[in-house]
Point group: C2
Chain length 461, copies 2
């Protein structure tokens, strides 16, 4: 076995050897690899090789590898292998992964695959159809239907035996949290730790915790992640309004959700339609679409600045030096607004804040804008006072200083209140992106600047 370094499994070394000579597929070696490393390797293979690698693996590992392929790639694989040769692989997959993959298949392949599965294990096909009913990004869409449930009247020793038997019969992965069900309702949860450490004769009803954090199948995946993070859960049960246990969501899926949601938020905040795959896996045209829509919207919005500038052209002609500070003024509002909107969007995503908190936010951001703006105004005043060509230095300095205070404050207010308003309307606050806030503040900032200039220069003249 090659030596392991840092966090690396032995994957990279073996994979490198395989790449140089893919014919040297030794099942013994492949089995030692982690399914995630294998999946990455298989995803890079040409189509012809892909089948040979999968066939060389034990069925269970092959199923795990297919489950970890990018979904598009897995769909292509099912299309190439056909429904008959794919059914055994699908039967070995975890219920949630299986449902996700089948849900992505085009018709009529999907029905063919389901029929092939039905021929072997009818209840699995039924399970797939049931899971398909839930939204992808809901608790129901994340959950698996493979979990352990026992009755409250068992003793700890009996319960351990039941766990052993059920886990073997139904090939259940997740056996550390065992749900206690009475009259078809979830009444408690007991950990395998408590069963093992408890006295063998103690009843499950005494060992279990009745206070079970749970989610509903229609709950958003973000709520699932927040609840599990809050209560440090590695598994959370999904139950319907009647308290019937439908499935469980495991922490590994939630970790993926957290990464995915953070990525989505970052992309939305940069004025993009979020992309599903990673940077290099996303096609050029798909990227264009994801980026172009918002760029055009922002560009058209920013056309307003041209109209504002046009309107004040005479002022600029009168005091040419005014033009010098246009980019400086509007960018200072964009920058403070971008800080505020990022803070608020993230606080909303983490559930630290709600739209009803707007008065506190308004109060704080108003103070922040005035304070930050005043500091920047000092720098701006100095630059304008010292560095103009023809205009009255004092009037120019005052115009820049007053505008900076006003525009920075405008930025903090628009940046903070906009996400709250958008969330209040039931939309995702992350769309009130940095560029969106900046564009709005650009337009408003120009008005402020030229209004201030008119006032001060009228006094100075």
């Amino acid at each position: 076995m090659p030596a392991m370094r840092g966090s690396q499994l032995l994957g990279p070394d073996v994979l490198k050897a395989l790449e140089s000579d893919p014919s040297a597929l030794d099942p013994e070696v492949l089995e030692e690899l982690h399914a995630e490393d294998l999946a990455e390797f298989v995803a890079e293979l040409p189509e012809a090789e892909e089948g040979r690698v999968l066939d060389a693996l034990p069925l269970e590992l092959a199923a795990d590898v297919v489950a970890r392929l990018p979904l598009e790639r897995a769909v292509e694989l099912v299309e190439r292998r056909g429904h008959e040769r794919t059914a055994p692989l699908l039967l070995e997959m975890a219920a949630d992964d299986r449902a996700d993959l089948i849900g992505e298949l085009p018709e009529p392949l999907r029905e063919q695959v389901l029929s092939a599965i039905e021929a072997h294990e009818p209840e699995v096909a039924e399970d797939v159809r049931a899971l398909a009913a839930y939204e992808d990004d809901s608790a129901g869409g994340l959950m698996t239907t493979e979990f352990l449930q026992i009755g409250p009247e068992l003793t700890a020793a009996e319960a351990i035996d039941a766990v052993r038997r059920l886990a073997r019969e139904q090939d259940i992965e997740s056996i550390y949290q065992i749900y206690v069900v009475a009259y078809e309702r979830l009444v408690g949860v007991v950990s395998l730790r408590d069963l093992i450490l408890g006295a063998p004769a103690q009843r499950v009803s005494e060992l279990m915790s009745e206070n079970v954090a749970r989610v509903a199948p229609e709950d958003d995946q973000e709520l699932v992640a927040q609840t599990m993070a809050r209560y440090d859960l590695s598994v959370i049960p999904v139950a319907d309004a009647q308290g019937r246990l439908l499935g469980i969501v495991t922490i590994d899926d939630v970790v993926d959700v957290l990464e995915e949601e953070a990525t989505e938020d970052v992309q939305k905040m940069a004025a993009m339609v979020p992309i599903e795959e990673s940077y290099f896996q996303t096609g050029f045209l798909q990227f264009m679409r994801s980026r172009l829509t918002w760029l055009v919207v922002l560009f058209v919005g920013e056309l307003l600045t041209a109209s504002v500038m046009h309107r004040y052209e005479a002022d600029v002609a009168a005091v040419m030096d005014l033009v010098i500070f246009v980019p400086l003024i509007i960018s200072s509002g964009g920058n403070s607004g971008s800080q505020s909107s990022s803070l608020i969007i993230r606080a909303l995503a983490l559930g630290e804040m709600a739209p009803r908190d707007w008065p506190r936010v308004l109060y704080r951001e108003l103070g922040m804008g005035l304070a930050l703006g005043s500091m920047l105004a000092l720098v701006g005043f100095a630059r304008a006072f010292m560095g103009v060509a023809g205009a009255d230095p004092l009037a120019m300095g005052l115009t820049v200083a007053c505008s900076v205070v006003a525009v920075v404050t405008l930025g903090t207010l628009v940046g903070s209140l906009m996400p709250l308003m958008i969330q209040r309307l039931g939309l995702d606050p992350a769309v009130s992106s940095t560029p969106f806030v900046a564009s709005l503040v650009d337009v408003l900032g120009l008005f402020v600047y030229f209004t201030v200039a008119r006032f001060i220069f009228a006094l100075a003249l």
Copy 2:
């Protein structure tokens, strides 16, 4: 027991009752609450009440509550209670939480607390000192020293007995992954599931997996999170270069890390020094500091635009209409740059990309910039052609169109290559924030615009 709704534990109802009458502290009721809910409740209490609630709780739960308080608040609590009354609480805490809290205490309180602990359990004090040696954001800083280890020669039945005995004696929480150690070196991992489902006489050496993903104590917490997410691990062992097992990191700590790192990235990308606490918990002055530094840097950088504008003032005086499109041109570069930088920063954070990928990124973003810029240029041309006052419409339209293509491409290139370069220098790429990229592109964009204008208007005149 009040009915549970959605993901809510019964916390909120009981807490509301407690708030209206905090004297009605029923230990039976308090015990049913989750430590996280209690911690939030305690954090809001006045100092006098806080002690009463903690004293009403069983010691183990009280310790868990203190571990979940905001760190600053927990430090104040230790200061108020003194080292003698805090030591028993600290002894009940998980090793990692205990070390984190003690590490934050001011001297001489820290030494007093450590002495008090030493008087009860000398090896715990030693453990705290050992953990204190690691950086907070390293694997060593996250790990706990409470884990199970057994020898490879045990049978499954003997191993289960050993787990039971060790977990009881040492009060170990995390018993589902058991590490196999021979000659003081980590040689494998076996899950409690495999021990329970395996044949009782089978040896641990046969059941264990030798291919153990692990991290080194000095590894960054982001690498720990990435490794656990990649291999779907709920626990990861921390081992030194000699393969000696030092501790374990559990997934709940990593979920916190993921949220924390995503928040930090978002804040850095908005040109802020990340704040530690939530929005409302952060004081006004602390916020000012976190926001002002970058605002001043950006403002001073943006002063360059004033110099560029000053330099081209004569051009503007000659063709007044040029001034109209200044904000439009520079903002289009900022927007495309912000998309690119967010994409690249996130891809780097998820480990999807490395600085050495720069040629692929350059190639792709160049194409993207030209394509996106051309689309926007059409809109820009139309607006400029139709809406100018005195200048030649065709020359103005061409100037805007060419500038938009160039500036948008400049934006995608600066936005994508800057984070790669910063990562290459060993710094955090998230500091190449949207406003930072936008400011740089503003300055460069003005040069481009006026250069294009000089060229085209010279031809047109």
